[in-house]
């Protein structure tokens, strides 16, 4: 029995003539302890897919099975790191995480919960900022709080929806390493949604492209057989890496072209000539 199973998922928004089918015929199986990345263009329905898996949305048809049980609601077993942090702005870093652990471990005493909060804040190295509000933090720090919040609930599976999309390259690299560290420590199952092929190759065991929506569906999977722990600089010379990267990008380019040729709307451009201010 697979750990997570998506069987013939279709998701349609709206009803009747105005409805759009965002996802069509999505099939995916994940084993326990696996790290899978789904790569897709922006607007291809990635967030919808994530929300179907974490239980915020229900599929129009098909079923999501988590450990063999259909997903009908959100669960503490599946932790989510949102694309836009989604921290509550009126709570401090510590309070944001405390709120989550209190829900996840309702039976524990306050002292133990506080200890857990401090532990996870320290893990993302934000201890000095524990009493600050999200507004006072930089984007990277906020995302680290979101990571700490998701992990402090001790979920079996981590679902990440473009968690690093809004960050600069340097912070992004650091956080990738942090997430990989945490993941490898107790081998949780992880699903990463991203638009960055390099990020996917660096972090995941498998990469699956999502063809752009409407009617988005999953493409053929690419296995990444690079030994862990992976080294970013060394990877650049790894022939396996180069091959995988090229084939994924080629595939994405092809479906991108396909999408372009599908659209037959012709835009009429106004006739404008640039005016020279030099003369």
């Amino acid at each position: 029995m697979a750990y997570l199973e998506l069987n013939n998922i279709y998701k349609t928004y709206g009803e009747g003539d105005s409805s759009t089918e965002v996802l069509s015929n999505i099939n995916l199986t994940m084993d326990e302890g696996e790290f899978v990345a789904i790569v897709g263009f922006t607007g291809s329905g990635k967030t919808t897919l994530v929300n179907l898996i974490n239980g915020l949305l229900q599929p129009t048809s098909g079923e999501v099975l988590f450990k063999g049980v259909p997903v009908t609601d959100t669960s503490h077993e599946r932790g989510v790191i949102f694309q836009n942090y989604s921290l509550l702005p009126w709570l401090t870093v510590g309070q944001n995480i405390y709120m989550a652990v209190k829900e996840a471990f309702p039976k524990e005493r306050k002292k133990d919960l506080m200890k857990r909060v401090k532990e996870y804040v320290a893990m993302v190295s934000l201890s000095p900022a524990i009493n600050k509000r999200p507004k006072e933090l930089s984007g990277g720090m906020r995302q680290r709080v979101a990571v700490a919040r998701a992990l402090a609930m001790n979920p079996e599976m981590i679902i990440m929806d473009e968690p690093l999309g809004a960050l600069d390259a340097l912070t992004r690299g650091n956080l990738q390493d942090e997430i990989l560290n945490i993941w490898s420590q107790d081998k949780r199952t992880a699903l990463l949604i991203t638009n960055d092929v390099d990020e996917g190759i660096y972090m995941a065991d498998r990469i699956i492209p999502l063809k752009p929506g409407p009617n988005a569906t999953l493409g053929p999977e690419f296995k990444i057989d690079i030994e862990r722990p992976r080294d970013k600089t060394a990877m650049n010379d790894n022939p396996e890496y180069k091959k995988t990267r090229n084939s994924i990008i080629e595939y994405l380019m092809d479906i991108g072209d396909e999408r372009k040729t599908v659209s037959d709307v012709e835009y009429k451009l106004p006739e404008l000539t640039p005016k020279s201010f030099v003369a």
């Binding site: 974490n54 239980g55 915020l56 609601d73 959100t74 669960s75 503490h76 932790g79 989510v80 949102f82 836009n84 989604s86 509550l88 702005p89 009126w90 709570l91 709120m99 989550a100 829900e103 996840a104 509000r133 507004k135 609930m153």
Partner: protein, 366 residues
């Protein structure tokens, strides 16, 4: 060489001293002081300009009325009467003063007389309490109501009554509008059910609210001889002013960021927790904006409602002075106007301070 070193040291010492000094009195602070001085100067200047214009305007109105009176005396009773009238006006005798917009100095004099009057009444009250102390003790021990002072209310008492009425009305508005607003905001079907109600009752005038409340309270107080003017006026003020809070609360609750709702779902918060830990905190800024509008509306409608309800507040004071038509009545009305304006301004500042305290994005508040 050595000398050079010493010089250098001195230089660095003086420069570090300068640094310390500049840290102690940062240039921003200096600019700030100059800026605030400039702002105060401009404000003072505008106040002086306002008083000057007022003085000129009241003088012009005074002259117009004085001339008219003299002219009228001339036409009706001949030259002698006209001269007498002019002499009377110029002498400043209170019997023949033009009754028009008072000048700033007259208003100031009225304010002083009102304060003096307050002191007289206060002394009177104290004397009364002293005189009655023994009797009242006896009456209380006999289980009867003590005798209370029933003399004229002083200006300060009147202002206090008005503030009390506004606060009672404001609290009433808050206790009605915030809970209902939350419930309406949470449920779209209730929102559409209540919408007609809000749309119809929101624009109703304060006077009509007063009449409505009067109809109801009068019947409720039937057979009770106690004074219900205060009750009627604060309920009317509350009902008039609560709409801004109701609409803002409903809007704030209904428009909570979808991300926060998703967080609540992912954390699996219960309904109670979701409302009190996510929805309410995120709509607090809008609720307080509503409460701020409510307080200023309450203060604005207060005058009209107190006037109608015959409640011993500023509204009644203004109306009675107008009916009175005494020599200093007009200037007393202007005093009341300034007191109303200044208290309204202070109340608004108070609410703004509270609003800034509870809001989590301080930069976005005006």
């Amino acid at each position: 060489m050595e000398q050079e070193m010493v010089l250098k040291n001195e230089k660095s010492l003086s420069s570090s001293l300068k640094q310390i000094l500049s840290k102690l009195t940062p240039s921003i602070k200096k600019d700030g002081i100059i800026k605030s001085l400039k702002n105060t100067g401009i404000t003072l200047l505008s106040i002086l300009l306002f008083i000057g214009l007022w003085q000129m305007g009241s003088k012009a109105l005074y002259n117009k009325e004085a001339d008219y009176r003299v002219e009228k005396a001339l036409q009706e009773r001949g030259e002698e009467a006209a001269a007498a009238e002019r002499a009377c006006i110029e002498s400043g005798d209170s019997s023949c003063q033009p009754n028009t917009l008072p000048s700033p100095s007259q208003v100031w004099a009225s304010l002083k007389s009102l304060v003096a009057d307050h002191q007289v009444i206060r002394a009177d009250k104290a004397a009364f309490a002293e005189k009655m102390a023994v009797t009242n003790e006896k009456m209380i021990s006999q289980g009867k109501d003590p005798i209370v002072y029933t003399g004229r209310a002083s200006f300060v008492d009147i202002v206090l009554t008005s503030i009390k009425t506004v606060f009672a009305g404001f609290l009433l508005a808050m206790f009605i509008a915030v809970p209902i607003g939350i419930i309406i905001g949470l449920s779209p079907s209730l929102r559409s059910a209540f919408n007609w109600f809000i749309q119809i009752f929101k624009p109703v005038s304060p006077v009509v609210w007063y009449l409505l409340v009067f109809m109801i309270v009068k019947t409720l107080y039937i057979g009770d001889s106690s004074d219900n003017a205060f009750v009627i006026s604060f309920i009317s003020v509350g009902l008039c002013a609560m709409w801004a809070t109701l609409v803002n609360t409903a809007m704030g609750v209904a428009s909570v960021d979808k991300d926060y709702i998703n967080v609540a779902k992912i954390l699996k918060l219960g309904t109670f927790q979701k409302v009190f830990k996510v929805i309410l905190p995120s709509s607090l800024p809008l609720i307080f904006t509503g409460l701020r509008i409510t307080l200023s509306v309450a203060w604005m409608v207060l005058i009209a409602i107190e006037l109608l309800a015959q409640s011993q507040g500023l509204g009644l004071f203004v109306w009675e002075e107008f009916q009175n038509g005494a020599n200093d009545s007009n200037s007393k009305i202007i005093v009341a106007m300034f007191v109303i304006g200044i208290i309204g301004f202070l109340l608004d500042r108070l609410m703004l301070a509270v609003q800034n305290m509870v809001s989590f994005n301080k930069n976005e508040m005006a």
